[in-house]
């Protein structure tokens, strides 16, 4: 085989590998959510974050608008502080937006859901969301349910 043919085939091989890499990066992985350009950071304090993790989605109206970037525990206020990076294009959330930790499906992943408020001013870089609702912990709910049932039985 001539060296020209060999070089063409090696070139095709490398091109195929690069194409495969881009196919995996674009189609199968979350690269599109990295390339989203500018982001701004918001924080929210929760009593209980349940199973929320770093990189969990932040969504408003079911649309993913950002990701959780950091979770810390504040031992002075006894609260979990969740930092989120929100895409810059979604920068029109009113100051009284409420953040709650929700679960997708009964046993699915947990995510932060935003419920926009009615204030005139908007949340900006570094702001802290005050209106929060903690994660529903299934065991606690079942416990409360059993407890109230037991109460009914006693009456």
């Amino acid at each position: 085989m001539t060296s020209r043919k060999i070089e063409i085939l090696v070139g095709l091989f490398v091109a195929a590998a690069i194409a495969a890499f881009f196919m995996l990066a674009m189609q199968v992985s979350n690269m599109s959510s990295y390339g989203g350009g500018e982001k701004y950071e918001l924080k929210a304090r929760f009593d209980n974050i349940g199973g929320l993790k770093i990189r969990s989605p932040v969504s408003a109206g079911g649309v993913t608008i950002g990701r959780v970037t950091d979770i810390q525990y504040n031992s002075e206020t006894y609260e979990a502080v969740v930092s989120m990076a929100i895409d810059e294009q979604y920068n029109k959330f009113p100051l009284d937006t409420a953040a709650s930790i929700l679960t997708s499906g009964l046993l699915g992943e947990q995510f932060v859901g935003f419920e926009p408020g009615a204030e005139e001013e908007f949340l900006k870089q570094g702001d802290i969301i005050d209106l929060t609702q903690s994660a529903l912990v299934l065991e606690q709910i079942i416990g409360q349910f059993l407890y109230s049932k037991a109460d009914e039985g006693a009456e």
Partner: protein, 263 residues
């Protein structure tokens, strides 16, 4: 009886010393090869030729294997997941397993069998027919001329092959899950996009395949260079290449996985 025991102990000791000596020779050999690789910048032609025989000629088996592994994974995970109504997760399950584990590992095993054994046989035969000593007589360094291009070609080819394997595997899974089993193509693509991380999963998989490439090619060229130059010794060296590199790949995969994916 006492003598027999001592003989046995001596046997164990000799085997241990022998394997450590080989390990030491192999490590020195690896350093020499890496040092010789600099000569490839002046002669890239040699590298391209080896990329053809090591990479391009392995491509067919990688594509066929990737396609079928992806298809089988899709079938099996479908049957397991449908009981829980979670069959939409077939895509993410196949994509994650391929990128993290199966892509690098199966590619490396096939690579050791297809390209590694060929490298050992080729270099070993050159040694047996005294071509290597002939080169030295002509003041051509066989490390630079023969070993370095083959080693480098293996190290470059492995991540390329593993990436192609994973991509073809995902396409195979798509064919089975969406075209054959009738799943919706929306969640098949969108769930991986949510779950599979570019850095954690894709890049770590590629790092894995580079490590496997170094180890598998190192073992292959060393076994060839170090073989006993007879037809029997050459056969044994080729067998050792496949066995040792497969074991090394599986062991390293465990080590790398526990370093990369446990947090």
């Amino acid at each position: 009886m006492f003598n027999g025991l001592i003989d046995r102990i001596q046997h164990v000791g000799a085997a241990t010393i022998h394997s450590f000596r080989r390990l030491g020779r192999g490590s020195v050999f690896l350093l020499e090869v890496i040092a010789s690789c600099t000569s490839l910048f002046t002669r890239p032609r040699l590298l391209v030729k080896q990329l053809y025989s090591v990479g391009v000629q392995t491509l067919i088996i990688i594509i066929v294997a990737g396609l079928f592994v992806g298809m089988v994974m899709a079938l099996q995970s479908y049957y397991a997941l449908i009981d829980y109504g979670a069959e939409d997760s077939v895509g993410v399950m196949v994509a994650l397993s391929l990128m993290r584990e199966l892509g690098p590992v199966i590619t490396a095993l096939l690579f050791a069998g297809r390209a590694g054994s060929a490298l050992t046989a080729e270099i070993g035969l050159m040694k047996a027919t005294e071509q290597l000593s002939g080169m030295e007589m002509m003041a051509v360094n066989p490390m630079q001329r023969i070993v370095a291009p083959r080693f480098m070609a293996g190290v470059i080819s492995m991540p390329l092959l593993a990436t192609i394997f994973s991509a073809v595997g995902v396409i195979g899974a798509y064919l089975v899950a969406v075209e054959l089993l009738g799943l919706d193509s929306g969640p098949f693509w969108s769930q991986p996009q949510n779950k599979v991380d570019l850095y954690l999963d894709l890049y770590n998989g590629i790092i894995k395949s580079v490590v496997f490439g170094v180890v598998a090619t190192w073992i292959a060229v060393f076994e060839g260079y170090d073989c006993i130059p007879t037809s029997e010794g050459l056969g044994q060296a080729t067998t050792r290449t496949v066995v040792h590199s497969s074991l090394a790949i599986l062991f390293l995969d465990f080590v790398l996985t526990s370093l990369m994916f446990t947090k």
